[in-house]
Structure formats: structure tokens, C-alpha cells
Subunit: 251 residues, 2 copies
Amino acid sequence: MPLRVRISPMSGPSGPYNIRVIDSCFSCVMKEEGLLCELPQSLLSELNSLRQSVFYPRGAFLFAEGESPRGVFILCSGQAKLIATSMDGQSVTLRVAEQGEILGLSNVIANSPYLVSAETLAPSQVSFVSRLHFLQFLRAHTEVALRVARHLSMELHKAWEQTRLITLAPTTQARLARFLLSWAAEHGQEVLVGAHLALNMTHEEIAENIGVSRETVSRALADFRQKEVIRVNRGKIVILQPDRLHGLAAS
Amino acid sequence: MPLRVRISPMSGPSGPYNIRVIDSCFSCVMKEEGLLCELPQSLLSELNSLRQSVFYPRGAFLFAEGESPRGVFILCSGQAKLIATSMDGQSVTLRVAEQGEILGLSNVIANSPYLVSAETLAPSQVSFVSRLHFLQFLRAHTEVALRVARHLSMELHKAWEQTRLITLAPTTQARLARFLLSWAAEHGQEVLVGAHLALNMTHEEIAENIGVSRETVSRALADFRQKEVIRVNRGKIVILQPDRLHGLAAS
DNA sequence: GAGTCTTTGTGATCTGCGTCACAAACTGCT
DNA sequence: AGCAGTTTGTGACGCAGATCACAAAGACTC
């Protein structure tokens, strides 16, 4: 098992970024799918007293591969991607976390080093709860342990979906189409004519998501555009022909 | 999200196989890494009363993609692989579970259909616990919920490792070498001169593990053999030059 | 608005690996 | 032992996509 590089210099939730510490905001807990949604008020306020809220710009690292787990990061708003990096600098995106999700959970539970890095894709508000506090909280409330198990199950399923996406698509175009569709699905976006996808990603980053080269993504997108399946509007992708996109995804 | 095929005809832990039902055997719980190891005796015997033990031959399906979760499968002895299949019949192996591991856990927790299939790689003794019983058991004991969370974390980390293996290896030979090394590592096998790996896999299956074609695996293995890095002995692979194998894995 | 850096678009080339095809070796069955 | 089914070995061929190489278009700074 080769050791991995890129140990971040950060020692807490704050890093070498221009970060604002905020002290309200637990709106994320209201989200339907969030781990914490519909927790009894008493538990919420207990958790509230443990957490520390911080604002990160785009491109900030919440934690990096190889660090030992400091604690969990609750994504109150924004987006973050989890990436794995190889020795020669290549990287894959394992998944993109949305608001309401918890990052670093599995590492805190297993007490094993982060084996992925978490980088914000958009300006994000993040609540940090230290390992010790979180574990105490977890042990004290069976309800919380069950929700954690459910969250981990969700993460596992997404990891499997990602493997499926990368390995079982016949062509690159299919991979890209599936990627766009699953993105839309995960963001509650109906895949209708005119749906806007705010990917917040460069072609390079899309490439890392689907495991192909940057040029191939550019070319495939150009092709979709030329077929008028999609349109690109100031960084956002607009779906023009959902049905044809599904067709491309299938084969 | 395309629906997936291969719904198995089984409706319980038993299927259309020549299966023996056994009623002892919880030796798996003694295993160091098993989910259940070192559980208090009282919990063990409670679980014992809930389970039903069954013997499967090689190639049996414990469950298949798309089925709703009947319960969890505790692998007392043997091996099983988790596979995802695409519409056109291709498949990837997501991981190989060893004795002591629990299969179908995340689906029971999340109450979502199995999105992978589990197939035995060797004759295996498996204890089945139905969804309801397991959830009751889980809810009743915080200790168990925590262990489940730890097991799921382990599964998630293995899933990420698998993605890393498949996507971040520069060449096919590196993939194969890494696969062999990680196999050895996970089986407590020291990677020493003469270490025997009982893969229980055909080249086809190895190919599904590392995401390449069968012929490519045959050729790569032939190459390793010709370089005298490995030797093949009645299906078992013998490592002759661990250091060179590590070298091949790196690049 | 000039200058720098990042991102995107596209052509040209090269190659690893998938695919097809078939022979050889092995396995299991009666 | 003999036969059928599976697994393995290897050659020949073709192409999808990686890589290289720039140019064009945006984005951000002062």
C-alpha cells in the first residue's frame, strides 16, 4: 500500500484561507435528506453547542489525504468534492457532496486517516465538530448512531454508483451523458428541456469525475452542443434535449 | 437511473442450489476483524437465536441486484464477490468479501434495493438474519449500531480503494500487480518469496476486478511469468519476486 | 485596458488495449 | 479413457482516446 502525498498544512478546521467564522446557521439540518434533519430539538441544540462554523472560498481543502481524522465537517451550504490522488499527480473525483452532507464521517468512525481529500467547489459554509465531541455525542444517543449508519450506507451506495459510472459505460460520450444526468438527478433538478446545471466545474474537473482526459471532455461537450443536445451558458449547462441525452447515456 | 437486470429467483436465504442447512458455527465471530468479534456473550447468543445457517457451493448468488433487502448475510467461511452488471452484460467486481464480513448490510440499513449482486467464489457457510430481526437487534443495542457504523466505514474505504485501483493506475500491468499485492495484504499473506495466493478466480474474473479484458489479463500474467515475477501452480499464484512486483505496481 | 493566467477548442499523431479468431490445455462427468 | 465444456494462450487488426501542441477566448489584477 503506497503512502500518499499532499498532507495539508492545516491543523484545525481553519487553514491558510481567508475564512470567516460564523456562529449561526444550521439551516442545513432542515434539509430533507440531511443526516441531521428531523433530529429532536434537544439533540440539535446539543450538537449546536459542539460545532464551530466556518466559511470557505471555492477551492479550499477541508482535509487532505493522509491526515489523521480531526473531526467531521458538516456542509451547511455549498459543494465539495472528494478526490483521490496518485503519486504522479493524477486524480479522480469520488463524489461531490451537497449541502446537508457530512464529510470525514467514516474516518472518524473507523479512526483511520482520511484516504481522500475534500475540496470545496463553491463558497461553502461548514460546521466542524471535533472527533472526540462527535464520538461522545454518537455514543450517547442510539438515534444518532443509526443515522450515522444510514449516512454511511448512502455514501457507500454513491461510491458504488461512481464505480459503475466509470467502468460500465461503453463509450466516453455515454459516461459524460450519465454524469450529467446523475448530476441533475442528485440536485433535485428535473431533467426537462431548459434545465440549468450549475456544475461549478471546469472541463478538467469533469474529466476527473468520469476518468477521461480533459480534451476528450471538451470534444464530447462540443459534440453534444453541435447536436443541440445541450447548450453552455456562462459556465452553466442547459439541457435542450433530455431524451437524446438519455439515449446517449444508454449507449 | 436505468433499471438493472438479473433479478434472482430466490426468495430467502436458500435458492435453487444444493444447500445444506447447518446449525452450529459462529466461529467467524471469533475472527479479529469481524464485525461481531468480541461482542459480549449475551449479544452473541441473542444474535445466534436469530440467524439461520446455510452452506452454498461456489458460484451461488446470495442476492442479486435490484432485489429488495431480505436481510443480512454473515459470511462464516468462504469468499464472496460483490459485482455490478451493466445492461449489456459486462460486469465489474466491486470487492471480495472474506469470512467474518457481513453482506447486504448497507441495503438493510438504508432500506434500499441491493444495487450489487453477491456471488460466492468458494464453497461458503453463510448465516442469514432477516431484515426485521436485524433492525430490532440493532436498535436495541447501541454497541451493535456502532459496530455497524464501523463495518460500513470499512466497506466505504474499500470501495474507494477499488476506484483508486481501477482509475489511478498508469498501465494495465500496474493494475494487475496492485491487485495481486492488495489481495495478498488483505489475506494476511506476507508478501514474501513463495507466498501462495489462492485467488479462486479465473482470468475472466480477475479482469472484472481490474476493469480490463480477459485477454489482457492472460497476456499480463504471461508476461509476469516470463519475467519470473510469479509462477502459477494449480490455480494458485506463487510470488517469486515481491520487490519486482512492487516495482510493477508503481509504474 | 493592458497584461497575465486559466480555461477551452481543435488538429495531428501514436499506441495500448479491446475485439476477433482459433488452438491448446485443463476439468469434470459417465 | 473419452467426450463436452470451460479456461487459457497468442497472433492479427483496428480504433478510441491519450498525448502533444498551439491558438483563441475568458477571467482576474492593477
